[in-house]
Amino acid sequence: MGEFLTRAISVVAAVVCLNGYNTVLGKREQAKEQIRKQQAELEQSANAAKEGTITDGAYKDGTYTGEAQGFGGPVDVEVIVENGMISEINITSAEKEDGAYLSRAEDIIPTILEAQSAEVDTISGATFSSTGIKEAVAQALEEAANQED
């Protein structure tokens, strides 16, 4: 029983440590977020004087599709462009990808939306699936840019 208890206590300790680590970091991030918000507000009020600073995005409005190779097969995405900005990215089919990997790889979508470009880092641990999403989006965006001429 002694060994079992030692192991059980170790596991509980590891979980508690992780939790504590997360809580501390969470609080720190919250503080940072607040500072960032205040800064953004300041900048906004400064920018309000100069009107029309919001530039049009680089893409033409519409819904575009793209396909690229994931881990076990093709990954299809749908990219929606609104007001020249990428507003939504949906994965329409990725049948050959493993569930856990795909849902991890989907974390690349917010990054792409933030960067407004497919040139972002892939998700480590789900390299193939996230590369698939990234390249499929890149393909779709190529289409969005091409429509101009």
Binding site: F4, L25, F71, G72, K96, D98, G99, A100
Partner: protein
């Protein structure tokens, strides 16, 4: 079908077939649990190393759930559902068959070496964890034999840059032939995590030691991990038991049973039940 009235030989055959069938099912339909679970370990340490928050990503969920399952049912996952373990079992069975046909004695790893090799998995785990923590693991892509194996399994043959991984995989395959559960026992980093977990005794195998024949070591000999089973009521459960249950059928006195004794004789159904519970978990997780 009444399993209780079968001869020992027939019963052994049925169990072997049942296990092979469950293994094949998981091999074909749910092949990525082991890598996803270990990706959870890597993710946790990569995030800590980078000073970032550890999120409840799909990998971490898989890791947690499989660890909980193992704490309750022992390493049933390893013995029945791990794709890499199944691959090793198949290679081993093939090697034994070839040896029999050619009337050659199978090569064996000396016992002293086995004793040392057992600790290698902890080193492998430590090395990978440290690499993740220091943030250089991403650069070591192409060295993992698991990546190469799961790529081939998925029909993805873009193996450029995976040369080292391929060589390691081939070396491991040679080892898998020579020793049952070679990788699982000696090098599996996920196995290292499992074997450190506290396993509850209720479904772990025990033996009624006091009635054993003198000098009989049948159970330890057939065991892929050469475990001397704990006696009744003991909480000292070996983390190296893969729940393959070969010992149950080999014991001439039928002394081996789960911590819960009422399950004795119903191992066939209990195995199916455990496989189904695991299947339910996997489906729930969307694997």
């Amino acid at each position: 079908m009444d399993i209780h009235n079968l001869t020992a030989k027939d019963r052994k055959k049925i169990y072997t077939r049942l296990r092979a069938m469950i293994q094949l099912m998981y091999f074909v339909f749910i092949p990525s649990v082991y890598t996803a679970a270990f990706a959870g370990v890597k993710y946790i340490f990569t995030r800590i190393g980078a000073g970032e928050k550890v999120g409840m990503t799909s990998f971490v969920t898989v890791l947690l759930v499989i660890c909980l399952y193992t704490m309750v049912f022992g390493r049933f996952f390893c013995g029945f559902a791990c794709t890499f373990g199944t691959f090793g079992d198949a290679l081993r069975a093939l090697y034994i068959k070839v040896c029999k046909k050619r009337k050659k004695k199978p090569v064996k790893i000396p016992e002293k070496a086995v004793g040392i090799l057992c600790y290698m998995k902890y080193l492998v785990l430590l090395l990978i964890v440290l690499l993740c923590y220091s943030g250089v693991y991403g650069k070591a892509q192409g060295t993992s034999p698991w990546d190469v194996f799961s790529m081939i399994h998925a029909g993805n043959f873009r193996l450029g840059g995976y040369g080292i991984g391929l060589v390691v995989l081939i070396l491991l395959m040679a080892g898998m032939c020579v020793q049952e559960r070679f990788f699982c026992r000696f090098f599996c980093p996920m196995g290292a995590v499992f074997s450190l977990l506290p396993v509850l005794p209720f479904f772990a195998l025990h033996r009624t030691r006091k009635n054993c024949r003198k000098g009989c070591k049948a159970c330890a000999k057939i065991c892929p991990s050469q475990i001397g089973l704990p006696t009744d009521g003991s909480w000292e459960i070996s983390g190296d038991c893969f729940q393959c249950q070969k010992c149950i059928d080999i014991c001439p006195q039928k002394h081996i049973h789960c911590g819960i004794r009422k399950l004795k004789g119903n191992e066939f159904w209990f195995t199916i039940l455990r496989a189904l519970i695991l299947l339910g978990i996997c489906l729930r997780l969307g694997l």
